[in-house]
Amino acid sequence: MKNKLCERMKGILLKIFYLYYDGFRNMTLGKKLWIIILIKLFIMFAILKLFFFHDFLKSRFETNKERSNYVIDQLTK
């Protein structure tokens, strides 16, 4: 019974694997789109996020209390 279940699970996982494997292998237009997606993600995370978009409050203050105090100062000055 347990073996049967294991076999079945293995079969399902293999099916899922081949769905993606064959899908990616047989892509025509998809390859170009994946290149665009990867370039876009690289620009967004490796350039923009890393060099330009630091979280303002997290990068300047260590604790939530310090962040709260800073924002209250900004709201009341």
Partner: protein, 521 residues
């Protein structure tokens, strides 16, 4: 407060957010609508077994895939901007944004990415029925993703279900269901997704018209037109109704926005609807610096009726909201500014008392802050306390007015257009109507213009607020270097323009190739 702020930083931060949001919105509505159109087409294929419907489904699915791939993750940049450029705002909104955006992330990841793989890779690998279910789940998932961000946006326009904690300076969610089912969020969601359905339908009938003009794949084009024409007609009518309901809500919750996009300066009973008008580009010094609206076509009593379902109802204009109107219980803007300053001073005194460890005073101030009377009479106007000039409460009237009227005009044009598409297609006359087919093709950009105008109305019209009445845009911005924002503005402009060019060129190439025959790669 406002005197200490670098206004060029505020302007550049706003410009950057507008640029990224508007580019992001080029991709989103087509995804929302095309996903359902593809699901309808595949449902017909599964029901009839006709391979032509499979061919039709696969063609539009390819265009959906191009748009999805190029547009995916462009919205993440907006989240980067929240943390960097709008840190005070991000902190102030607290859980209200966190919860819906987290749900969006999880739903988008599991529903879309899992079933999109089956949708594209699963033809002939999974059963027809399972494939169809996957296509429907992608459509539902894409639209549910939009729900959460629109719930967050709806809260910014009409904040409900929260309590401001003066110890943390954060809004804490006290009722998730009030936030989720806020009438503003519901209207915004329905109006936004139905406008996306309309845009996608115009896109499909426009491209199908091109095939008919080229006398190529005629059956494919006509069948596509029937599906998109029907979906488009129903969606556009629904968009008009949801827009009407949304405007009625704006009239009561954001009356300044309503007055600006309707071009109403002096309120009265039985106000006419300004169906058409030309706004002067010179502010009129005799009329509170509001630009004069010159050529007017008005429909008597209609604005009162649309706003309050009563043709004789009083609708406040910009001047009523600035100067106040005791007869209808409107406070003046100056009074709201004074009350806002009181609320800010209580917050400041509370913080100072805590710092001095004067617990008795701190306790009294905290009780005052939590008093429902104080909340209703003072904290409700907290955001006004940042402003000095009552004129700063008036949004850009020409931009709001024109965006609103262009959006509405194009919307009604689409109802007629879809009606004619269905009439000519069912009567078998569509092939011969070459001028009409060209009109359909050239209507595609109009759908994008109307869609962008909708966001201009929503976001420009609510200025100066980032959170209605609680936080003005000038107080929400981070104290960072304006030059850093300028650099990233231009970087985004280049990246997004490249993506838009890639989208148009890949799509155009794919459209020219046309629907493939079974087995063709």
């Amino acid at each position: 407060m406002i005197d200490n702020i670098d206004l060029s930083l505020v302007d550049w931060s706003r410009a950057q957010f507008a640029l990224t949001a508007m580019y992001h919105w080029i991709f989103v509505p087509l995804t929302l609508g095309l996903s359902f159109i593809v699901a309808f087409m595949e449902s017909i294929y599964v029901k009839t077994g006709d391979p032509e419907w499979k061919r039709i489904t696969k063609f539009w699915m390819t265009l959906f895939g191009i748009n999805f791939a190029i547009g995916v993750a462009t919205g993440i940049i907006l989240e980067f901007e929240f943390g960097t450029n709008w840190s005070s705002y991000s902190w102030f909104v607290g859980d209200i944004f966190g919860a819906p955006l987290a749900i969006e992330g999880i739903m988008a990841f599991f529903l879309e990415t899992t079933f999109i793989a089956v949708m594209f890779f699963g033809w002939n690998k999974v059963s027809k029925r399972y494939h169809l279910i996957s296509t429907w789940l992608v459509a539902i998932g894409a639209n549910l993703s939009a729900l959460w961000i629109l719930v967050a946006n709806g809260w910014m326009q009409y904040p409900v279900g929260m309590h401001f904690n003066p110890d943390t300076a954060r809004n804490e969610m006290i009722n998730f269901w009030n936030v989720l089912f806020s009438p503003m969020a519901v209207d915004k969601f329905l109006h936004t997704i139905s406008s996306g359905f309309t845009l996608a339908s115009v896109f499909v009938v426009g491209i199908s018209a091109w095939f008919l003009l080229k006398k190529r794949d005629v059956l494919f084009a006509k069948r596509s037109m029937i599906v998109a024409g029907t979906f488009g007609l129903l969606s556009t009518i629904f968009t008009a109704f949801s827009g009407d309901s949304s405007a009625r809500l704006i009239a009561t919750k954001q009356p300044m926005k309503f007055a600006a996009f309707e071009g109403l300066y002096d309120g009265s009973h039985g106000v006419p609807l300004l169906a058409f008008g030309v706004v002067s580009n010179q502010p009129d010094t005799s009329k509170n610096y509001l630009p004069e609206i010159q050529v007017k076509i008005e429909i008597p009593n209609l604005l009162s009726y649309l706003a309050y379902l009563d043709p004789h109802a009083f609708v406040p204009g910009v001047n009523d909201l600035i100067n106040g109107n005791p007869k209808v219980g409107l406070l003046s803007a100056q009074e709201k500014i004074e009350r806002g300053k009181v609320a800010r001073n209580v917050l400041k005194s509370y913080k100072e008392a805590k710092e001095k460890k004067d617990l008795v005073v701190a306790d009294v101030l905290r009780q005052q802050f939590d008093d429902p009377k104080f909340q209703e009479q003072y904290f409700k106007y907290f955001g006004y306390g940042f402003l000095n000039d009552t004129k700063s409460l008036v949004p850009n009237v020409p931009l709001s007015f024109y965006s609103f009227h262009i959006m509405v005009f194009i919307g009604f044009y689409f109802i007629i257009l879809f009606g004619m598409v269905l009439y000519y297609t069912f009567r078998g006359k569509i092939d011969g109507k070459r001028i009409f087919l060209k009109l359909l093709l050239f209507s595609i950009p109009l759908a994008y213009i109307a869609s962008q105008c909708g966001w201009l109305v929503a976001e420009v019209g609510r200025q100066p607020w980032v959170i209605q009445d609680y936080l003005p845009t000038v107080a929400a911005v981070s104290q960072i270097d304006a030059s850093a924002v300028q650099i990233t503005f231009w970087l985004f402009a280049v990246v997004f323009t490249a993506l838009a060019i890639a989208e148009v060129s890949i799509m155009t190439k794919q459209i020219k190739i046309g629907p493939k025959k079974e087995g063709e790669k």
